[in-house]
Amino acid sequence: MNFTNPVLFKELKLRFRSFKGFNGILFFLLAMCIFVFGYIFLTVNLTGTSYFKPSQSFVLFAFLSYIQLGLVLFTAPGLTAGSISSEREKQTLPILLTTSQSSFQIISGKMLSSVAFLLMLIVAGLPVYSLVFLFGGISPGDFVKIFLFLFVTLLAIGSIGVMFSTLIRRTVVSMIATYGMMLFLSVVTGFLFIIVIQMKAFNHMGTPVTSPSYLGQFLASINPAVLFATFLSPELNRSITEMTKINFPIWAGYLIFYGIVTALALFIAVKKLRVNMKRLK
């Protein structure tokens, strides 16, 4: 096994050479700072108090977490959905595929370079978070949990993007497919969850249903917004258990589902990157 990855190295070099990378980070940091200071300024001014309360600090933390989640959900497809198809469009792919790199090396290089860039964005935002710590209201545990699951989400969406980019010839189409998938997982599953729970509740006239709703639990478990909500207000876990009649932690379901999605998407991408020379038609 060769752990040096030429694709990863080259992609990172190019990303930062073009200044697009730096601009992205700068812009993001600036936006976050404006947001945080704006929030502090407004709450302090509007409430007439001259200090920042821990409860307000928590709200800020919640906002920041959702912003980071939004950042991951909306930039991961853009960073990965063109990774292979753009090489195909630029006619650099055939040459890359005739080198002796394994398909896994190429795919993981593409994947890691995008992941590394997004991680850099997230890490760049950490100092802003430290402000929130300064004012209290959040435990380091919450903080670690949020970041761990941001990473899980990032890997899953990224590998879906790389997979579509390998399977679909055109980058534009691959982008649409990846963003579509992301919206399905983060928005549509939420609505479906509500519908499923509502239908279950009114299934039998008057009498409340006690049978478990596996579909409901599944839908709640794969929705990143729901997951983050359970981190920010743990009581939500209990409400979901009441609704679905299943006592299984949302975060565990999330981890299992997106672990499988990541592995499967990367496996498909590796298998489909090159033609199968062995198979006879």
């Binding site: 595929l97 033609v275 038609k281």
Partner: protein
């Protein structure tokens, strides 16, 4: 060294390659000639493990393209007919990336890259961005890239196409150097003379079929006993034209442009040719001159591919 066995490629109903068989010895420079759409690129794509054949196989150094494509990739250097380069990358970084892609250690790459740039006359461009190089320079850089892992076999798909005459000559000189290095080279072109002087062997492909294979001299000999004959006439006479049209061994008869007379391809033996000329004179045809041409390679090629229909 290279053995192409019964290679067939179908795109749906369309057969792009039809049972291609070819054996080449180590160190051979093989010119693959054929009109556009004949199947040259398709063949090279399969040999380079980029396209799955419908049936058949290619064996290089005892390794099967179908069974061990990963091993084949180490043996070959492939240059596509159309290719792109990464922007924002300098010439030496470009080579460094591909060197790393073949698992060549960094110290070795550092030594190798200046040598390769020197070989393709691009030493002065090592710090230039590759997307800003001229087409000829890109072709040469791509050739250097093919060489970075010191492959035994080079597969070059129309390396001279789209180049101006000067760049063509530069490319040809580099290929001669590579030939001197003992590489087995497969090179395609739709223009035969471009290949004739640097190739040991030539294969002519038409409609997916290999219709001729041999040394340049052999291919030429194939068409010996066939010559182009021009007959100049004092006045255009329908009688003369129909006389030659009716002769055996005469094909492709045409009126001369801007002059009185006809030209045609003649496949008969010498005795028959003498007879024909005697008859023409006895028939009182207004013949001014009777002239044979040695067909050049281009004509040979046109003739071979025409005959395959």
């Amino acid at each position: 060294m290279i053995e192409i066995k019964g290679l067939t490629k179908k795109y749906g109903q369309f057969t792009a390659l039809d049972d291609l068989n070819l054996t080449l010895d180590e160190g051979t420079v093989f010119g693959f000639v054929g009109a556009n759409g004949a199947g040259k690129s398709t063949t090279f794509l399969i040999v380079s493990t980029l396209l799955q054949p419908t049936s058949g196989d290619v064996i290089i150094n005892g390794v099967s393209v179908r069974e061990k494509p990963a091993d084949i990739r180490k043996l070959i250097g492939y240059m596509p007919d159309f290719f792109g380069v990464y922007d924002q990358l300098k010439a030496d970084e470009y080579l460094d990336f591909y060197g790393a892609s073949y698992g060549i250690p960094e110290e070795d790459r550092k030594k190798l890259i200046p040598q390769l740039l020197e070989l393709v006359n691009l030493s002065h461009k090592r710090d230039s961005y590759v997307d800003l190089l001229s087409r000829g320079m890109k072709q040469r850089l791509c050739l250097a890239r093919c060489l970075i892992h010191d492959p035994k076999v080079l597969i070059l798909d129309e390396p001279a196409s789209g180049l101006d005459p000067r760049a063509r000559i530069e490319m040809r000189d580099i290929l001669k150097t590579l030939k001197g290095m003992g590489k087995t080279i497969l090179i395609s072109s739709h223009i035969l003379p471009e290949l004739a002087e640097m190739c040991d062997e030539i294969g002519v492909i038409d409609n997916g079929k290999l219709i001729a294979h041999g040394s340049v001299a052999e291919i030429q000999k194939k068409l010996q006993g066939e010559k182009m004959i021009t007959v100049r006439l004092a006045a255009q006479s329908a009688e003369a034209i129909s006389f030659f049209e009716e002769q055996p061994f005469v094909t492709s008869i045409e009126k001369l442009e801007g002059d009185e007379g006809v030209s045609f391809i003649y496949r008969g033996e010498e005795a028959e040719q003498i007879d024909m000329l005697k008859q023409a004179i006895l028939n009182d045809l207004p013949i001014l001159s009777f002239m044979e041409h040695v067909t050049n390679l281009e004509d040979v090629f046109m003739e071979i591919t025409k005959g395959a229909d």
